[in-house]
Symmetry: D2
Subunit: 333 residues, 4 copies
């Protein structure tokens, strides 16, 4: 961390600040120029309140040199992380096609969709059992029963399953789940993150609607610092002023997160756009951008889906997207 | 809810849609014009997937006529809700001055700050025991021990206490807390909301960084639909493109939420601006805008605060703000 | 346009409103239900102040049924517009590769870059002569001299040229320019739009940093309503809370604008990301998304570029991107 | 400006960079620590491309120490600027109440409104003659005729007039205008800014919908660098994800701009909220925040206003707001 002192700071004031910084166990490297004095703070600066430092009368500006995340940082782990989910791999050149309904509704539905998407090339089945809904009056998911149906679909197809955990107390129910999803609204539910860090199950961590890449990586760090290194990052649209789409898909997340981190990056065009018509082009674009996977909502009967029907493809639509995605995968190799 | 059908929709298609809507227990009122056909959907439309309806080929546009929140809605509860916290009241003309440190750090600190802010006119003491921090490496609060120290400060000053709950499993520890705060990052942690809805303790619900007024009210609805009507809404800044301030204080929350809802509205200028120099003017502006209270971080020694020191006033600075706030309160009556 | 009246509106009030609307030359179609009354407004509603209508005491809500843009609207012009620039076509299946430096700096530079990008497959040369810069102290472009150098590069390579117009009074200098660019900051400089609508030169209209798709199309409408139908829409990143990238590329602009309008859509990943490392993946993604063209900054010596060096590819880097783009073009056909 | 070099940069690479910087006429002050090397760049860094520097392989991070605006900067001009408009003063403790209709519509209307707002305490009359409208089909203002009517209202009441300039070629018509307004959409129409910098008429410069405080000050700098120091800054709402209000009023602009600059700051709650009901509270809040003035739309018959009727107060409503504003002015002194 670097602090630039204002022109006119007295030697006494400078020394006073240096003493204060040293009491935080930092080494301070002073560089005095004719116009400005620069302090280089060396050591563990993660506990320094950068805003406080900036607010001091004699401080002109403060700049963090190193990123505050460590285990998720590519600098300290240059090689791509490959997350293994049964026989399926994600990252480091392995591409995951995750598909399935927004909500698990019945055995027939989830097994049927699972078989269909598998036939089209999906490698992982998604489906919500616990559903975060804006309204307390909306369908909240089949909960424990939904998890059981997902496992039946896994049994029927061999596809590993990915489903969302909302409540720290439900973790015991997720023992047989292959990928635990942390939703966008819970990206900074720190207790939930820490708890999932204590198991070894891969975690698919969705970016919050108003969270930066750095904050997403800090949340990954919460999981990793507890011991679970199997984190998959997922961009699913951010909130902007544009109202035509449900959210704005920030596809630059792919190159940005790949530069900052070694973790795999998956794109969810269904939640990002909220519109069936826009999902195919965004899925293909995500693939072209170099994503390590895509996550798409597929429902056997979108018009009757209990939630998010407007953004669910039919199996036939998904099949077409999957073919295009595979062609683009080959084109960019 | 109103659905406008596209020009050229056939009678068969229209009937098909009407039948589908009726199967959702809705009455459908049809109005055929020369150019467009309008369907008025009457009944409980809260479970209708508006986006799905909008995505149908024959539907031009859909519009929700009534707000999806009920118990928080001023339409069904025209009188201001007054939340009672011991002898203190908030809302309906009663103004709350909530002050205290970001984090509880020691008995000396919290009792000292409590006595100081009380002397300046504060009516409620705030202080964090469980702290949501972006980084897993930052100070996470004194937790249970912090709650005990808050209770000592309450004993010493008589001020009711307000502190944040992050984890559903910690609720038992909050029995003696006067106002339970749900932080911005947990505004859509629906399980946490439901659980706090089961107790009677007043809940101070902070608006999420990227959440609309309507979403804030839907989250209040989660609490109220479980039986707890003592909800206080709090605006603490939203995330925008501007980087000079920590967040952008959306002061229009005061008239907007007062129009939409009967619940009291409190403003937190400390988190909104993140800068000591800007807090006084924003606190006074919030008061002038008609807020039912303000919430301000005060620390006896901001330069040594374990978190958010840059946005904490000294007791002397708070005293000056409090005087100005009271003068403005009188001016707008 | 549809207006829903509040429950409890009296027949007199309703009639009063209808009379007022009729005085604006609108037909009003009334549909009375048991709970709500709906007014359908038929005729030219483009001059009705929707916000005013919404603010009336008796009005519950107002909804525009038809988009306010006409000539740019796909509904009234289902076939893709193909813009012709000399022998080059854009839109309707024709893909344009626009490349060149941010600023024209010298004959050697612009001719050199033009030859290089042409060799890699570029079909149009871009280059700024008049430069909009945030700071009055920054390099403002070679102006008229720059235009002359662009024409020399055109002569040398045969590539049509595209360059930005900032000032209505400079239009005369642009007679030989093949595509006039209107920059993001001038997207709502309505006098400039109208003036360019009076010529026949194709206009590349960039989306403003905080403008919606609809506003972009309304600005296209300004140009088209004056008689110039050769408008090319360009997405170049919007402003969001994320600071890692210069702007956030909203790639959903491709399917969204293609659905709303018949005009071609070009993507500029250079300004959107501001980072050399991210441009290739975003250029390829834009192609995969179905864009009608891409626009990329290329400089023979980025480290010495007078502006935007950080986002300029070298000719060698561009060559690699162009190859990938062409492979992806084939894959999605 | 400070550049931090990456760990592992060789002395040769460092020297190469220093040589490159020196060729831009900068002095470079090198500070080598054990872990990082810091370069302090001294001299005119306004032409250094910070993004380019940041993109170099060996550069870890770059930080601008001094703001890029000079004449608008409080550091070099600590005393508040007081703009004089006839007998009226704005800034440095002088408060302006600017009121009038969105558009000038007729002599009767503008003179009537002028007399009414003057009676309530307004000190400056506003009214649009040239109107920037999103749609080419909307009312565009009475133009030259509107200016004449404004001058009649000035004659009748003695109030100085403030009106918007959109087109550089109309400047001659504005000779008798007291304050020239540059609208939000033209905040970065740099040619227009430069041209208004050549006259001495006070300029009211509105913040763009997606522009930072720094960009607003850079635009002020465009005007000031041409010789016109009479710039009034105006916050009128920024664009965010919230759709309940037309825009989001960023009231922190008052303390922020006062800290960064010596120029007066005026708040426009009419455009910021777009809702009659919210204007009074926001006007009073702006005053409490320490604004140097407020700007409010007032129309004698809002229901018939040709534009922005939904956000226009009646003279009676304005009178009430004005009284409250004056009471709050006294309370905060």
């Amino acid at each position: 961390m670097i602090a630039v002192l204002k022109h006119g700071t007295t030697p006494d004031q400078t020394q006073h600040l240096i003493d204060w910084l040293k009491r935080m166990n930092l080494d301070v490297h002073v560089s005095e120029g004719s116009e400005i004095t620069i302090l280089g703070l060396i050591g563990d600066t993660s506990r320094v309140d950068m805003e406080l430092l900036k607010s001091l009368e004699i401080v002109e500006t403060v700049k963090r040199v190193s990123e505050p995340f460590k285990q998720a940082n590519r600098k300290f782990h240059p090689k791509d992380t490959i997350v293994e989910v049964g026989d399926v791999r994600i990252g480091g050149g392995y591409f995951a096609m995750i598909a399935g309904p927004c909500s698990v509704e019945s055995e027939e539905q989830i097994v049927g969709v699972a078989q269909a998407v598998k036939a089209s090339g999906a490698t992982i089945l998604r489906g919500g059992a616990f559903k975060p809904r804006t309204s307390p009056y909306a369908f909240q998911g089949l909960k424990g029963e939904g998890l059981k149906l997902l496992l039946k679909a896994k049994e029927a197809t061999g596809l590993p399953i990915c489903t969302e955990l909302m409540n720290i107390n439900d973790l015991d129910l997720f023992t047989d789940v292959d990928i635990i999803q942390i939703g966008a609204r819970n990206m900074q539910n720190f207790d939930l993150l820490k708890e999932t860090g204590k198991c070894k199950t891969p975690i698919l961590l969705k970016r919050g609607l108003a969270n930066t890449f750095q904050e997403l990586l800090m949340s990954a760090e919460y999981i990793m610092s507890e011991g679970n290194e199997n984190v998959i990052l997922c961009e699913r649209g951010i909130r902007t002023f544009e109202t035509y789409t449900r959210n704005t898909l920030d596809l630059s997340a792919v190159p940005a997160l790949h530069e900052l981190s070694h973790l795999p990056v998956v794109i969810d065009p269904s939640h990002a756009t909220g519109k069936i018509k826009m999902i195919p082009s965004m899925a293909v674009a995500a693939t072209a951008a170099g994503a390590d996977g895509i996550m798409i909502e597929v429902h056997n009967n979108p018009a009757c889906a209990l939630c998010d029907g407007a953004q669910s493809l039919t199996p036939a639509q998904f099949d077409e997207v999957a073919r295009k995605v595979m062609r683009v995968r080959e084109a960019i190799l």
